[in-house]
Symmetry: C3
Subunit: 417 residues, 3 copies
Amino acid sequence: APAASVATTGTATPAASGTAGTAASSSPAIAAARPASSSAKAWYEKIGIRGYVQMRYNQELGEDAKDLKSPGDRFIGREQGFGVRRARVVISGDVTDNMSIYIQPDLASTPSGSSTTHFAQLRDAYADIWLTKDKTWRIRAGQSKIPYGWEDLQSSQNRIALDRADALNSGVRDERDLGVFAYWSPKVAKERFAYLQKSGLKGSGDYGVIGFGVYNGQGANRPDRNDQLHSVVHFSYPFKFANGQYLEVGADAYSGRYKVSTASTTIGGRTFTPGVDAPEAGSTDRRVGAHVVYYPQPFGFQAEWTVGKGPELDLARRTIRTRSLRGGYAQVMYKFDGGFGSLIPYAKWQTYRGASKFDTNTPRMEVDELEAGVEWQPSNAIELAVAYANMRRTDVSTAPHRKIDGQLLRVQLQVNY
Amino acid sequence: APAASVATTGTATPAASGTAGTAASSSPAIAAARPASSSAKAWYEKIGIRGYVQMRYNQELGEDAKDLKSPGDRFIGREQGFGVRRARVVISGDVTDNMSIYIQPDLASTPSGSSTTHFAQLRDAYADIWLTKDKTWRIRAGQSKIPYGWEDLQSSQNRIALDRADALNSGVRDERDLGVFAYWSPKVAKERFAYLQKSGLKGSGDYGVIGFGVYNGQGANRPDRNDQLHSVVHFSYPFKFANGQYLEVGADAYSGRYKVSTASTTIGGRTFTPGVDAPEAGSTDRRVGAHVVYYPQPFGFQAEWTVGKGPELDLARRTIRTRSLRGGYAQVMYKFDGGFGSLIPYAKWQTYRGASKFDTNTPRMEVDELEAGVEWQPSNAIELAVAYANMRRTDVSTAPHRKIDGQLLRVQLQVNY
Amino acid sequence: APAASVATTGTATPAASGTAGTAASSSPAIAAARPASSSAKAWYEKIGIRGYVQMRYNQELGEDAKDLKSPGDRFIGREQGFGVRRARVVISGDVTDNMSIYIQPDLASTPSGSSTTHFAQLRDAYADIWLTKDKTWRIRAGQSKIPYGWEDLQSSQNRIALDRADALNSGVRDERDLGVFAYWSPKVAKERFAYLQKSGLKGSGDYGVIGFGVYNGQGANRPDRNDQLHSVVHFSYPFKFANGQYLEVGADAYSGRYKVSTASTTIGGRTFTPGVDAPEAGSTDRRVGAHVVYYPQPFGFQAEWTVGKGPELDLARRTIRTRSLRGGYAQVMYKFDGGFGSLIPYAKWQTYRGASKFDTNTPRMEVDELEAGVEWQPSNAIELAVAYANMRRTDVSTAPHRKIDGQLLRVQLQVNY
């Protein structure tokens, strides 16, 4: 820690900075040497703090629904009350003309093995280093979202539906990993990406018209477990029609080797620890995805599909081996604006046939779900979403991985600050 | 994450906001469309960051005192040195005219099962949504203090005595839970609640003249464990006499079903896991409390009492069953103000007869304690408290739950920022 | 929590403050009573927020290197990818004329026992209380760096080499502990300490020309385990020659009793839990160190040496007993400044013969390491370091504590904000 000099001479100055310090009465020589540069901006002009909190309540409709488990919402299931799904604080800013940072802890996370919750854990911690004056090319280094899947890149703060679709979201744990990426966004695309977010049309933000990179591959906040990196490539383009209507289409793909976790389990009367039919470096893990988003002006449509291969428990052989997977979703929505704010009714259908590779023994997961609801934004700061969901899902968290069918009433209050 | 558009077009803007963005040179159309609204305030005008840190040192007087254990201070007992009791950071603000947020992590918390400490864990994460222009009615949603007990609602930053009284504090773990509440404060009460805090009279803040709500019931940062909510109702009124003296009186009550934790234990030579004599939804858990606070202008007096029913280990039957509980405290204090700052000598007596429901097997807890000390505030930013305590307490953390008698010298340094 | 009054009357006001509140429309009486004092500064003028993130990638050169383990970098070894070594957020500031705070969580920490990472854990949480108007004397209370060793006091944000030398760094876990300290810095030294940091010369900050104090002794974020405190004393003086060249020399020492951790282990075919040949209060733990730093203007030289006694596993006797330790490092560096920023090639040699007291069973640790690299700072906000290291190290984390020899290519990207 830079210690007392910080306390006596102005507190917001990076210790390594030679120019940005506040003048201290005890250091006149330093103050005199300080040039009037852009780095003389106050700390609160260089970085900003904002965030959002999501609070949920799920009501199971009927006894069957109480056995439902969903990776996207740990408050679904038996003996649940209110839950804080996300409590985010974002520290971000353009620190210099060519470097921006983005640090986002979540304050509703739980260390593995702890029975107490709501600890602060990183989601994002990355820097964007701009390679060109016009900011078309940048390097992103750190823990950040992996550019695979459109909905995975869209912030949960902006998503209309309560959870992401499992087919896409089962690719990258918490949508993020640690790596180095390059993004290219020409000026026209950059402006459109920005507009689609700021306008309330719920864009995904700017992950480049072209993006590519390498990353560890075991998911956010997990150490790597092999000496190989995953690689990813991403394309997305926001078209704008003459009438002002936006349409975004794109595709992406990733490939690497994933190390699965196994443990003794009992399924169908047999107790076994599955073998893993894969090289030392891990199981084949690769996917391609495609997306189309017709923005709600006022009617919108959104769909994604993915296919790939990944590790999956083969019960007959008691072995985890490489198998195919496929799935996606389609969503329709309509945006009403008025004195009441913004009201967006929507319906989302999703399906998935493939493994849940993050879970112990990577069980096969089958999902068929229909959710219909409405999101109401009385102001920019408050969102209330109410939805009815008809779920048919494998319980991937507990052997013997039963398939459960049930209906839920779901409510979410989100506040933005 | 809202990604690069944030970095290129101003960093403090909630992604969902249609109006608040900083103008970006690459987005002239957006800048032009930005109306001059109140949401155009800079992020640091909308939210503020402050906090406080409490550091403690307890010196046991005599050998017996080394076996003391107290739920309010984990640094009491054998082989203890300095301790950080609380390290708080508060992010709060009036985000819009009708929504305020309050997010408070504690940076001196420990996940269950970890031997390393000082992790960041939420205390508060709530939004106040104001229902009327005059801000008399509001809904509070999220994790917040449960309006039961006056001292429980008063911030530890403001409390004169080192710890809260166990009789009241054993009702709601960490004073908080996840739920939805309504508070009503007419203008005159709102002004008085604010004055009692800002004046240094150490008020509890505004939890309404009337407050009521529902919450999970297992305590802060713990998942719910049944399908029933607890409910609470709260009354408190700050009277002001003609001579300027303030007097606050009130009462509150809560009711619900609490799920206890049991484990194998050895007491009196018998090893057993207690049974629980309660329905599936949990044990009866209900209390009423009353408070009176005569503010120190300069002489002050403060007392609370609670009675109720809750789960308690019945050793004879090796069963946890519903039993009565009662207890409270009385405190006198005197506030000297002068060039030296503020000096408040105080004496606090407390008693409790009832269970410690948060602890494994919910053992019976008997507390009789007298603490006398003085709090010195040389400035608003620094508080030094020195106290002598005579404690007679059950060790509820370890079977066989012995009763310990001992004396302590206690010191706390608090800094506010 | 100070509750709603905060939300309605200005959010950045410490609840205990009688003077600093923002005027609230609902509290005219309070606004009128507010004097124009220095505490009326806005919250963002009183405190500042800044930080830095370090991302690493190590490439082992040859098969042997894959078995290397180093206390300073958990991303060295088999099956590693990218890693976030540090993700720091600093909240600091001069809260009043005589009190400053410094609160620094790290967002890349892991609770013991958790397999998920990147949780927020305190590094520093202290207050400086200035005893004199000229700020030469201060008391520092809280968790802070222990003034032993020069490199230990220098921020990792400023260090040129990737990790600290083990000889010095094995004295105090995470360089910090909880305690109370006094520091004395006369005006001339204070100005030099400040200049050495701000100028990019990578000073250690101001830990006084003289410093001394007492602390728990088990390391940062660990509870104390005995009723004795460690004590420390520290001297350092920054000389300035007529030609402007700076030279800092000093020495320090600490002494106390350290409680070791033991567990069953298997070494050389024998399975045993070592006994501890020490009193109940813990093992003898004392060291002296000396440092000399010739600042890089442009050529620099830096060296430290330490000797002492501490607990060490004696394999022959299967006992942990007090043994001597010694070690240190020497470093040369050269600072090139130009249009490309700042470029600092360096070479660092270190050696250590003594125990790793933080590790289970306190095994003996032998280190001989040579690192040569270059740090490039294109701007104040970005640092890229590339180094080649030849390590010969005992693996102190896993019995039988083999000695490993290997070469590494190391890369670190650091961003400051």
